[in-house]
């Protein structure tokens, strides 16, 4: 039981310091008696109040910086000369106060900017102040939790089931080198025998493109990549340990409904990636999305070892991913993308083996906007989804084909097909609609008045169809940002709050360098948008952004569009053909079936 104190709160300013009022409330909550005196008292009058009220403690505030040393030194002298100094503890707080200044002037404690109410209460109660552990502990959030994937739109569900049947049937007798490589990689990872591993590596390299083959055969690195040196790897480990020991991450979320916030990294260099991730974690990011280089998606096979790269995107190897995973805080969500390219099964396998939380798979986008052959990606993706299910990694189904010009309803049809496929294979899909100023709306004008309605329409539409988690991407506000960091951060933060208002589960945010293409993204630019998002969450709290009636109208139109597309897919026989034919996004829309891996699908040999 702490004995109750009598505390006088005295502003030594012409105006009231809000800090004193907050401390007053904090002290009263703890049962202490407080007296807050008016702001126009002279120091002598304050001294008299101290004597008259027979207080135990005085907290003086001084906000103005000018002449602070003289005013405060004099106040302490007055207190001592009037004989109260030995009976009363005196603390000082204010913008211009530092503990050293308080010491110099003879106060018992000094509270500068950023002081918590608890700190002042601890001083009053005569106990040492121990900063509270940042709330309890930051928890890793499962954004699929609580979703039963119940379809409200039964017609769409039925169409999807039929299409998924077709996909599973289509791939049942097919395989690819990517699938085989993933199987060999798994054996390499699980083998304890070095000689067996060497043999497996030889088998693996036979299934790779020449550039990868020459790495395994003669140790040659692809251009613009190089192995990291031992001292670089050591330095990295030391850096991460040192940084982790002083981490005390901020929270972006202000209320429960605020979505988890992901950042995307992929500078090309694992060191810089990790440095970016650590700073983003410190400033409150909940998750990080791994970006691999675009050439990696067009090359059959993966390298091995710690490898750095001079261009965007970080090379996927077991060692690179492992070192990134090792650097993360325990609560940080980590996603490794496998939504396009010629290595999707192995990517998901590696992610799963290393302990990634999430992956990213979308056949429609990967083949229409990501450059991978539709048939190849379909066969590979089924295998990749199976790994995702095995390793219990939810995957998002991104709809970036919208950025090519594919209308939302077509992109959503593809997303729903892949999601249903995921559910059938026992995985947990996450819907990923874009919050963007897409070519579709630029042409059709849905965003002429505001950026709210059409984005809201997408969410309303998906919620009408199915009870599934939604993670807006990627990044939110795409094509609304300019090179101006204030404008860019504002756009990101407003989209973040729109997402929150619409009750989505996760968002990916850009840096304020999003629209700048002249060089790598910098860490200050990442902190810009994290801070902006935090402020925006703080600003809106539980309140909502109210879209106009257009949102529901457009939601209905998108839903009808999806139904029509799905019917057309079914009518055309199968999903793969639909992709080639442009039913899920045509050349006129801006979508081109990818060519990487064309005609590489093989008949399974039993």
């Amino acid at each position: 039981m702490i004995d109750k104190k009598k505390v006088l709160l005295a502003p030594l300013d012409p105006v009231h310091d809000i800090g004193l009022k907050m401390i007053k409330r904090g002290l009263e909550n703890k049962g202490h008696e407080t007296i807050l005196i008016p702001p126009d008292y002279s120091p002598e009058e304050i001294i008299k109040s101290i004597i008259d009220n027979d207080v135990d403690i005085v907290l003086v505030s001084r906000t103005l910086g000018y002449g602070v040393a003289e005013v405060l030194g004099k106040f302490i002298d007055l207190a001592e000369a009037s004989g109260i100094r030995d009976k009363v503890k005196i603390g000082i707080g204010g913008m211009a106060v530092r503990p050293e200044l308080a010491a110099e002037l003879g106060f018992d404690a000094g509270f500068g900017p950023g002081t918590s109410v608890d700190e002042a209460v601890a001083f009053v109660e005569g106990r040492e102040y121990v900063p509270a552990e940042n709330r309890s502990k930051k928890n890793k959030k499962d954004i699929t939790e609580g979703y039963d994937y119940l379809f409200h739109n039964k017609k769409i569900e039925k169409l999807l089931d039929s299409i998924v049947d077709g996909i599973l049937d289509y791939v049942s007798d097919k395989t690819t080198t990517a699938i085989q490589r993933a199987q060999i990689r798994r054996q390499i990872l699980e083998s304890n025998s070095e000689s067996e591993k060497q043999k497996l590596r030889r088998d693996y390299s036979k299934l790779c493109d020449d550039v990868i083959k020459s790495f395994y055969e003669s140790g040659k690195y692809r251009e613009k990549t190089r192995p990291m040196t031992n001292d670089e790897v050591d330095a990295l480990n030391q850096y991460v340990d040192a940084v982790n020991s002083r981490m005390n991450p901020l929270y972006l979320q202000h209320v429960d409904k605020n979505p988890v916030v992901f950042i995307q990294y992929g500078t090309g260099c694992p060191f810089m990636d990790i440095a970016h991730i650590k700073s983003c974690e410190a400033w409150g990011a909940d998750g990080a999305v791994h970006f691999d280089p675009s050439w990696g998606a067009r090359t059959e096979g993966f390298l091995e070892g710690y490898i750095t790269h001079e261009e965007d995107g970080s090379v996927i190897t077991y060692e690179n991913l492992k070192s990134i995973k090792k650097s993360l805080l325990p609560n940080t969500l980590w996603q490794v993308r496998a939504h396009r390219g010629l290595n999707t099964p192995e990517t998901v396998l590696l992610a799963g083996k290393i302990g990634a939380d999430l992956t990213k798979i979308n056949i429609a986008y990967g083949s229409l906007g990501g450059g991978t052959d539709p048939e190849r990606l379909t066969v590979d993706a089924v295998e990749a989804i199976k790994y995702a299910a095995e390793f219990n990694m939810p995957f998002d189904v991104v709809t970036n084909e919208e950025l090519c010009g594919v209308p939302a309803y077509k992109a959503f049809a593809g997303m729903l097909i892949v999601s249903k496929l995921g559910l059938r294979l026992g995985a947990k899909p996450i819907l990923q609609p874009l919050f963007c100023y897409s070519p579709e709306v630029m042409i059709s004008g849905q965003m002429e008045d505001n950026y709210v309605d059409f984005n809201a329409a997408k969410i309303y539409c998906l919620r009408n169809i199915v009870n599934a988690p939604i993670w807006c991407g990627a990044p939110i506000g795409f094509l609304t940002q300019t090179e101006d960091r204030v404008q860019s951060s504002l756009m990101t933060s407003l989209h973040a709050s729109l997402a929150s208002s619409l009750g989505v589960d996760g968002i990916s945010i850009a840096s304020s360098d999003e629209a700048f293409s002249g060089g790598p993204i910098t860490i200050p630019a990442r902190i810009d948008t994290l801070r902006a998002t935090q402020s925006s969450f703080r600003f809106f709290g539980q309140s909502n952004i109210v879209p106009t009636d257009n949102a529901h109208k457009w939601a209905k139109e998108i839903e009808e569009g999806i139904e029509a597309v799905l019917e057309l897919v079914l009518k055309n026989g199968n999903f793969v053909n639909a992709l080639y034919q442009g039913i899920l996004g045509s050349k006129e829309d801006g979508a081109y079936p990818g060519r990487a891996g064309r005609d590489s699908v093989m008949k399974k040999i039993y």
Binding site: D231, E232, A235, L236, Y239, T267, G268, C269, F271, M272, A275, S279, T308, H309, E310, T482, E483, D484, R485, D513, F516, G518, G519, P520, T522, I523, P524
Partner: protein
């Protein structure tokens, strides 16, 4: 510590307002400013000119991905 620049994680942005007649002139001044400050790898990230002058954010990269970062090794 040999050089404080080694403590910069990636780049230094200089944000300012340049009194100038048009955007081209502002860009020229901004580049000149950055060169004068000794930056080597310079980008104009943002520039917006209106009547009296230009709002500018110029960037000097200290380290780019793949470099040997001073902050990592010291």
């Amino acid at each position: 510590m040999s050089d404080v620049l080694e403590k910069i994680m990636d780049a230094i942005d200089i944000e300012t307002y340049i009194v100038s007649k048009n955007e081209d002139e502002a860009e020229k001044f901004a580049m000149e400013l950055m060169e004068k400050l000794g930056f080597k790898d310079i980008s104009i990230v943002f520039i917006q000119h209106r009547g009296p002058g230009a709002r500018v954010r110029a960037r000097g990269y200290i380290y780019k991905p793949g470099d040997r970062y001073g902050w990592l090794f010291n």
